[in-house]
Symmetry: C2
């Protein structure tokens, strides 16, 4: 605990890695590219899950669970999807180990236990789910089918980073089936809106809603909606995606329904997901050189109370007051923890709670008891005030709300001041290399231009913003005609 | 829906399989031995999860998440554990697929992408977790470490049955670390008690708490506590286990701590788990020939309301009354669904809700509106009464409580009347073949006797009940001395 974090300005990437580990969020495991999500990190993820789950259910979705494995023959059925994921698949080929005759005490794969057909560990579940939906959908009465799954998935990434890119990660994946194209598109848009709402109002992360270009689309989708956030180092992070899958999976798995008019038609599909990657977005949006900064909505403990005392008697007196205070705070819906550990001094506790991003800290000492006061410290601004203990519950509730909105405003301001309109490629490179952030520029709509810009600058088109207005212009790279600006950025 | 279930007396096993599928709980998938848990089944599992999670957290446990994969070298570190699971492991050997040059459009495993070390898909997580704990535990101050994980696991079972035995299943696994043997044993006992409490008071399933014999113990445990339930066909089902792991994993992974006295000592461990197998126990304890019977605690909908009408006007009048009724039921904490589908007749709706085990059904027709009454039907007893709509909320709440306790009493009565003391092996075989259930008999404590009894009768020792009294006797098989009765049964 004693050691400070590397500062963001010194080495942003190192700052991030250190913060994740030191704040007890996650760590690397013995399995290449796979992480262990530690209790404190997992508690934050549980808060995200609970809120998203509520939002999904309120919009008529139900949870279900589909197999971890996808038989190779199903995996390859939707060709684009298969092609997109084939290069990063963990593949199960055997179902038994045996004693290794050459190494006593060691095991080896039993060569006799080879599977007839290899099983892919799901990198995403469209294939196994659409193969299942085939049996569930016969008539328009069976539609829409609105299902979500909370699950682990595996993508064999070569360069991994805690939360941001790991070989195994946790996510939710919605998979819906509809009788019309219009309804499926509306669903994909609705879910992207839900993600934006969740990111902004729950996580205090401002996002841009947009469409991906063809080359950045999900493999197998006709259209990919996304929310893009901006991190403090000026790099963008894709925080959620919602795909309109057209009839691609219905055709690959032959899923038809009888319409009201009695005709056989292919079903229309969407899929949408967010993952533990959101933890990375959370950390990089709000945190500072002292450690994690948590919006109150996501804090496992919104308030921590630290007693400051010399004698056992003082400790007991303080504890009596704290117990009452905790009761009344809990009645107001505040989650509060009393840090009465006798193995750490108050200063060390303060440092730990700062590192772990507890939004509000209340310190109570013997003199406070006499004066009827407490010291109240905000994690986001690092400001402290001494305030009356009488009526503090309402102050705490109001402060938590203020912190939540102030974090959003601060991040929004950053995003706005780091979104730059440019009209020449010189300016584009200049802004990208000095200021970073989103670059709003005209693009001629071709994959060639997109690829060349990426090759030269490492910036990609993050999205075509949904709210971007029609505007006559010239492509920043080719000079060809363009009717809309798109957002470029370097990205995680 | 139209077709009836096979009756239990006709073919119990067929009844079970049909019920699981027809009540929309689960179905077999395209992956050998893996199931799809359908939304209705998953909603029941979510209720179990929520209650267990609450109980774990109340007793100081935190959730975390560890990798799906276990490198072979870690897997084999605890020899008994490895030996116990090696024969049923899914093994990942490659991390990439490529286009199959011989089959255009098909994929094959890329032979270049072979892993240096094979990865076992976790059948249980002691190995990967204890390897992680090594980095988390230095001092007695880091103990106890009380962690739970909600996860999927894979055991390559040859004979699978929905929920009861599947290659992949969902579960929770607690993994705790302690500074003393005594504390670890107390933890293992506490968690077994929590499972018993959950099974009896939440799921209405009576259980026997006991210890496993050495040969039935978890691979790697010094002692396995369990809860055993009795199904309606007289077979037992292990519903949860809690293991005292001694220092076996601490030694295998070299996990030591500095004690208060400054000595280096190995850590003491427990692990404990329940799984989607509980869904099987739930179904087989309470259900009948009409379908699923759900204790109100586990019912996604505790009450369903079916309107009975001929004209649109009648439907509107009924709906107005139902909307008010739903509001007031929800205020009392009752989950209620209004089944106003226009694609099914009331009779078909009744049959579906019976099949799916909705505890209470309220039917309201035009005549009921005139009389101020409704028809109230109990799923467990299949009894119906016409009752005043005034004050029905309290009746519903009381009835739900009555159903919950009555289901437990009924199952308890079954368990008690199907637990038989026998003193000769003839009697043992006679009871086993005619009546089934638990057989309480003296056993000489040897593995040889246990094995022979199993070989001859297929019955195993389910447990040595914790409340079994000391009683001098003779082993039912060998005639040797015995000081305690144990419980035998055929088991799932």
């Amino acid at each position: 605990m004693g050691k400070n974090l590397t500062s963001r300005s010194e080495d942003y990437s190192k700052w991030y890695n250190e913060l994740v580990v030191k704040a007890d969020l996650a760590e690397n495991s013995a399995v290449r590219g796979c992480m262990v999500i530690k209790p404190y990190g997992y508690a934050i993820w549980e808060k995200m899950q609970a809120e998203l789950d509520r939002m999904f259910k309120e919009t008529g979705h139900q949870n279900a669970y589909f197999p971890l494995f996808v038989p190779k023959s199903l995996f390859e059925a939707e060709e684009k999807n298969a092609e997109g994921f084939a290069k990063e698949c963990a593949v199960v080929t055997h179902y038994r180990l045996q004693n290794d005759p050459d190494n006593p005490g060691k095991l080896r794969v039993d060569p006799e236990a080879k599977l007839e057909e290899e099983l892919v560990v799901r990198p995403t579940s469209e294939a196994i789910i659409w193969n299942t939906y085939k049996g569930w959908i016969q008539s328009y009465r069976d539609l829409p089918l609105l299902i979500n799954q909370w699950a682990n998935v595996v993508r064999w990434e070569m360069r991994t980073r805690l939360f941001l890119r790991t070989a195994e990660f946790l996510w939710q994946e919605g998979h819906t089936a509809h009788s019309t194209k219009k309804e499926a598109i509306a669903e994909a848009e609705q879910m992207n809106d839900i993600y934006a709402d969740f990111a902004q109002n729950f996580m205090a992360i401002p996002v841009v809603k947009g469409l991906k270009t063809e080359s950045e689309r999900f493999a197998g989708a006709d259209e990919t909606y996304c929310i893009e956030a901006l991190m403090q180092d000026g790099k963008a992070l894709q925080a959620g995606t919602s795909h309109f899958l057209g009839q691609n999976f219905a055709k690959a798995f032959d899923v038809k329904f009888t319409s009201k008019e009695g005709k056989q038609e292919y079903v229309w599909a969407t899929s949408w997901g967010v993952s533990t990657r959101l933890m990375g977005a959370l950390i990089m949006t709000h945190s500072d050189d002292k450690g994690l900064v948590l919006p109150p909505n996501l804090a496992p403990n919104q308030v921590v109370i630290v007693p400051i005392f010399k004698t056992d008697e003082q400790f007991e007196e303080i504890t009596t007051v704290v117990n009452e205070l905790m009761k009344s705070l809990r009645l107001k819906g505040v989650t509060v923890k009393y840090d009465k550990r006798d193995t750490l001094r108050p200063g060390a506790k303060f440092a730990q709670h700062e590192l772990q991003g507890v939004p509000l800290r209340i310190a109570i000492g013997a003199r406070d008891l006499e004066n009827g006061t407490v010291e109240l410290a905000r994690r986001d601004t690092l400001s402290k005030v001494t305030t009356a203990i009488d009526g503090i519950e309402d102050k705490v509730v109001a402060l938590l709300e203020e912190i939540q909105s102030s974090l959003f405003e601060k991040a929004l301001d950053y995003k706005n001041t780091h979104t730059t309109k440019v009209d020449t490629f010189e300016e584009f490179k200049e802004v990208l290399n000095t200021k970073g952030g989103f670059i709003s520029a005209h693009w001629d709509g071709t994959i060639e231009t997109e690829d060349k810009i990426k090759e030269i600058t490492k910036a990609t088109i993050r999205c075509i913003p949904l709210d971007s207005e029609n505007e006559e212009g010239m492509c920043v790279f080719s000079g060809n005609k363009s009717s809309k600006r798109v957002l470029f950025a370097k990205a995680y």
